[in-house]
């Protein structure tokens, strides 16, 4: 009898890409919970819709490419993209916005480049940016966090949510400026005054009501992923460090032109979501340890630069996409020193 012939190693560490992705999905749960707690069921509807659309587009395109749909859907990568896109979009976004975003994320940014592993740009971020530059109005209408709601107002119920999402029935007096918007629009107040006078800040503790808790929840999820060794600490820590460093450099004690404290930057907007769920996307980031440090640090720097001097209040997506461009270049110059070789990259022709 003949035995199967196969290359070593014959042992294999348990787990596969699907289980890695599942862990990532699991790690977003605290963030989702906190988002829902502060902004109502919009986030959940977002997730539901993006998941639906992303899986549908993925399956359709796999069918077009004559691939086995079940096998590829089982890697959960489309679902991760869906979750990240949903978390980045403002809750209560209209359904067609979500559909368009999913289309660009899955079809244009992922499948057209060859599917999982071959996409040079983070699909969720591509979807997000296409929406951001095409539909600025919808994309900037973030709901107000629950602590900042005026008296008597409360979070929309599930019916109101669905009406808003599918029928465009607006929910009255519900949108509000995010802390990043407030800081960007701040012209004359000292930071301390801003904190004292604005409900978005004075209802919160460090960096604006609701947002700080959302970010802390994502930080928790990120620490869980680090513990699970889904990724290494290099890229997120470098990103947070460079963001904090730049914020500290330009803080200037809180004058009216101040760009906000490091703590503010760490805990507002999409910082923690970006640091632990987007910067760490292995497909589109640098691969070596040094490369990841550089990649993360530059993402952090770009986030700060765009937030403070750019046209958009938050900058995670732009910073990540810009660095996606640079990732192969960083890889090229950060090749680690191979065992038994004198120096790192030896032939840089």
């Amino acid at each position: 009898m003949a035995f199967i012939k196969i290359t070593s190693p014959h042992a294999h560490k348990p787990g596969n890409t699907g289980s890695v992705m599942q862990t990532v999905l699991l790690a977003t749960l605290p963030g989702i919970a906190v988002l829902t707690a502060f902004f109502g069921p919009g986030t959940l509807v977002n997730i539901l819709l993006t998941s639906l659309f992303c899986l549908a587009f993925e399956a359709a395109f796999l069918a077009l490419r004559k691939k086995r749909i079940a096998f590829y859907l089982k890697d959960y990568s489309a679902l991760v993209t869906a979750f990240l896109l949903a978390l980045a979009l403002p809750p209560y976004a209209p359904w067609w916005l979500i559909a368009t975003g999913s289309l660009f994320a899955i079809v244009i940014a992922k499948q057209l480049y060859g599917g999982l592993g071959y996409n040079p740009f983070n699909p969720a971020m591509v979807g997000y940016i296409v929406l951001l530059i095409s539909f600025p109005l919808e994309m900037s209408s973030w709901p107000a966090a629950s602590p900042t709601l005026s008296d008597g107002a409360q979070l929309p119920g599930i019916i109101a949510t669905l009406q808003q999402v599918f029928l465009g029935v607006p929910i009255d007096g519900y949108t509000g400026a995010t802390p990043l918007d407030l800081l960007k629009q701040n012209q004359s107040q000292l930071i301390s005054d801003l904190y004292a006078n604005t409900s978005a800040f004075n209802q919160g503790r460090w960096a604006g009501a609701g947002w700080e808790w959302v970010n802390l929840a994502f930080l928790g999820g990120g620490i869980f992923l680090l513990y699970k060794k889904i990724f290494t600490w290099h890229a997120p820590i470098a990103m947070l460090a460079s963001l904090g460093l730049l914020a500290a450099l330009f803080y200037d004690g809180g004058s009216s032109t101040s760009s906000g404290s490091p703590l503010f930057h760490w805990l507002s907007g999409a910082t923690m979501l970006g640091a632990f769920f987007i910067v760490t996307d292995p497909v589109t980031s640098a691969v070596s340890v040094r490369g990841r440090l550089i990649y993360g640090a530059l993402v952090g720097a770009l986030v700060f630069i765009i937030r403070v001097w750019g046209n958009y209040p938050d900058a995670m997506a732009f910073a990540v996409l810009l660095m996606n461009f640079a990732a192969p270049f960083i890889d090229y110059y950060t090749k680690p020193r191979t065992y038994g070789h004198k120096s790192g990259p030896k032939s840089q022709a």
């Binding site: 009898m1 014959h10 680690p336 020193r337």
Partner: protein
């Protein structure tokens, strides 16, 4: 406690060692047939020295090493050689190879072995020969002949000897058990190897900390010796030679070099044990300790098994449930290879036979796309970027693969082990490595083919050119020969002076010399004789006429007839006188032409020679340049060029010599000319003498009788023949290429001489 270093990467697969290291090394009953492959090591296969039907004793040499990197093979037991044929061997390809098949007779009859109580009394070369002769090759898996490593180049001072007792692969416990049971012999072996390597300052035994019993026995055995036991944390692949070196010394072996280049030699503990047995007891390597493990077996343990035992036999002895095993692995689960047939034999490198159940080692799920998670890069002990290598291997970008140091990959499998997408990375690297090797070999071959093709083209062109040159040369030579002949005719006739070629000269000379076809001296003498006879006849006629007129004046008729005779005689005398006069005039004109020719000769050949010397000189310089270039470039035409230069040099030399001679001749010739002009001799030069001689000879010949002439001819012929023979002998001695021409010349001369002799006889 010695400081140990950490290596980059590494993985921690489940160790799975306890199921086989719980009992002592056992032995099993002898198989019905032992199959001993001729290639059990890295390097050239050995050649069988027994034939089918031979009875061999245990430990008898049955195959000899071929070349330096090779190892001999010995009979594992006593028995009969039943076949030498192709059998499946333990190789990932599943191919067959030449094996010696032995049928044991069960007597275990040892060949006479040569024990040695004190190896220190032996020469090192003798010890090395013993180790080499025992057929010991690395027992850890690679199988590099041990004696080669133990004989470093003289310029490499070995400072550290490391015994590898790491055994980092899961499942394998053969070295562990060996160290537990034979610690003293291993230590003795370590000291023996150290002695061979001029006692390195450090003798280390590296053991992972998951073998506490082995560590304890080894430490006990190593007490009061120079051997140090180094214990370090368990991590795969610490047992890789390069990794072990880094762990225990902190040094890295330069890429592409051997450990000996940084003064380190690593040997497996099993090799040290075998070396000790070989030197101390004279036992060749005929058995080894092998781990037999896997959930498809009822019994899992270590056994000492004769080399050549078919795996099937071993497995059956351990209660193998074949239907529950999906694959058979030789070696551990990380680097071991699968075999297709259970009939393959145990060889020197077989440290483990793993027969896992389907649940134990499940089949690999299909590969998912690489998501560049970087886990492989974290696990790689060589600090490579496996995901990049995979990417380039997939796109067959060999340039990039090289750039990313593919050849520093040790194929440990850590990257594949951790890959969440189940990509068979190691297979990609192995395939790419072989592909690159093939491409390199093809490149070398194509370069060689290009050189050969171009050399062939050049050779054919040169042959064509030579043919053409020869044809032209023949044509020129023919013309020159004609000219030469003409000139010789022109010049040798009247004066016999040697001259060189010159076409107008030859024309003029030939026309001028035409009337002098006959020997002028003879002619002159003839004419003079004719004149004198005519004169005497006239005198007689006049005398008889006067007598007649005085004695018989009336006899008018008679007188008239006498007068007529007289008149006739007078006419004849006139005629003769005229002839003589005209001949003398002609003679004068010939002499005049000769002078002119001589004058011309003095200038023109000289110039010609000068010119030819110059041109040859030029050609020589260019030829020399070309030769230098060719030598620098190392082209294959160098030899031909060199010959050409030598030939040109020769030509130049002869031309120069000719020039010098011609110059000398010119001066003499001009002297001759003046002498001739000023009517006759003052100081006689060589040319003059020659001319005189020729004249004298001509005169003498003219005066000579036929017989004398013939005799003279005969002697001259004889002297020419002797000269020709001398030349022939010389040519033969020198193996000259004109030898045939000489021989023919001699033959012709001999014929001529014979003719002349006959001629002389006839006349006499």
């Amino acid at each position: 406690m010695r400081k140990v270093w950490d290596i980059h990467g590494g993985v921690h697969p489940p160790e799975s060692k306890t199921q086989s290291n719980h009992c002592a090394i056992a032995s099993i009953e002898l198989a019905e047939e032992l199959v001993l492959p001729l290639s059990q090591h890295i390097g050239a296969p050995s050649t069988a020295v027994v034939t089918v039907g031979d009875r061999v004793l245990k430990g008898q040499l049955i195959a000899e090493a071929q070349g330096l990197i090779s190892a001999p093979i010995h009979a594992s037991t006593s028995g009969t050689v039943t076949a030498i044929e192709q059998r499946p061997i333990a190789h990932p390809s599943g191919m067959t190879a030449d094996c010696i098949v032995l049928k044991p007779d069960g007597l275990e009859e040892w060949i006479e072995i040569d024990a040695c109580n004190d190896y220190k009394a032996l020469e090192k070369t003798e010890i090395l020969a013993k180790i080499r002769g025992a057929g010991i090759s690395g027992m850890g898996g690679a199988g590099f002949p041990a004696a080669v490593k133990l004989n470093p180049r003289p310029n490499q001072k070995i400072t550290t000897l490391i015994l590898n007792g790491t055994e980092c692969e899961p499942y394998i416990t053969a070295d562990d058990m060996l160290m537990r049971e034979h610690a003293n012999e291993i230590i003795a072996g370590a000291l023996l190897l150290a002695h061979l390597l001029d006692n390195p300052s450090e003798i280390l035994v590296g053991i992972e900390d998951n073998k506490p019993e082995a560590i304890a026995t080894m430490q006990a055995a190593a007490e009061n010796t120079a051997v140090e036991i180094v214990v370090f944390p368990t991590k795969y692949p610490s047992g890789g030679e390069k990794q072990l070196i880094e762990i225990v010394t902190g040094k890295q072996v330069p890429s592409g070099a051997l450990p000996a280049s940084i003064g380190i030699v690593v040997q497996n503990v099993g090799s040290a044990f075998a070396a000790w047995r070989a030197v101390r007891f004279g036992e060749p390597l005929i058995s080894r300790v092998t781990t037999v493990v896997g959930e498809s077996l009822a019994l899992q343990r270590n056994i000492e098994v004769p080399l050549g035992t078919p795996i099937q036999h071993i497995l059956q002895q351990h209660g193998w449930q074949q239907e529950n095993a999906a694959r058979l692995i030789i070696g551990g689960p990380m680097m071991g290879y699968t075999v297709e047939s259970p009939l393959v034999p145990v060889v020197k490198t077989t440290n483990c036979i793993l027969a896992p159940s389907r649940q134990e080692v499940p089949e690999q799920p299909p590969a998912q796309p690489c998501i560049r998670c970087g886990m492989c890069a974290e696990a790689c002990p060589a600090s490579l970027l496996p995901q990049q290598l995979f990417w380039f291997a997939q796109s067959e970008n060999y340039e990039k693969l090289r750039e990313h140091d593919l050849f520093d990959c040790i194929e440990c499998g850590a990257c594949s082990y951790v890959c969440p997408s189940n990509i068979p990375l190691v297979q990609y690297y192995r395939a790419s490595k072989s592909e690159i090797r093939i491409i390199d070999a093809d490149k070398q071959k194509s370069d060689r083919a290009r050189v050969r093709f171009e050399a062939r083209k050049a050779r054919i062109e040169q042959a064509e050119a030579e043919k053409e040159a020869k044809r032209v040369a023949r044509k020129i030579a023919a013309e020159q020969a004609k000219r030469l002949a003409d000139e010789k005719k022109a010049l040798a006739g009247p004066q016999g002076t040697a001259t060189t070629t010159s076409s107008e000269l030859a024309d003029k000379a030939s026309t001028a010399a035409k009337p002098t076809d006959v020997d002028p001296a003879t002619e002159l003498a003839k004419l003079e004789r004719a004149l004198s006879s005519a004169q005497s006849r006239q005198e007689r006629a006049t005398a008889s006429l006067t007598d007649m007129q005085r004695e018989d004046p009336d006899n008018t008729a008679r007188i008239e007839s006498l007068q007529a005779r007289l008149k006739q005689a007078q006419l004849k005398v006139n005629e003769a006188e005229q002839k003589l006069g005209s001949f003398k005039a002609a003679q004068n004109s010939v002499v005049a032409t000769e002078t002119i020719i001589k004058q011309k000769l003095t200038s023109s050949p000289l110039e010609q020679l000068q010119k030819s010397v110059d041109t040859i000189g030029k050609r020589l310089t260019t030829a020399r340049q070309k030769l230098a270039e060719a030598e620098a470039a190392g082209t294959p035409t160098v030899e031909a060029l060199r010959q050409g230069v030598a030939k040109l040099q020769q030509k130049l030399d002869t031309s120069e010599r000719e020039l010098v001679e011609a110059k000398a001749a010119t001066s003499t010739a001009s002297e001759v000319a003046t002498e001739v002009n000023s009517d006759h001799n003052k100081t006689l030069s060589a040319a003059d003498i020659a001319i005189e001689k020729a004249k004298a000879k001509a005169a003498a010949q003219a005066n000579m009788s036929d017989t004398e002439k013939r005799a003279a001819q005969l002697t001259s012929l004889q002297s020419r023949l002797t000269k020709a023979r001398e030349r022939l002998a010389k040519a033969e001695a020198e193996n000259n290429e004109n030898i045939d021409a000489f021989r023919i010349g001699v033959e012709k001369l001999e014929v001529k001489l014979a003719e002349a002799k006959e001629d002389v006889k006839e006349k006499a």
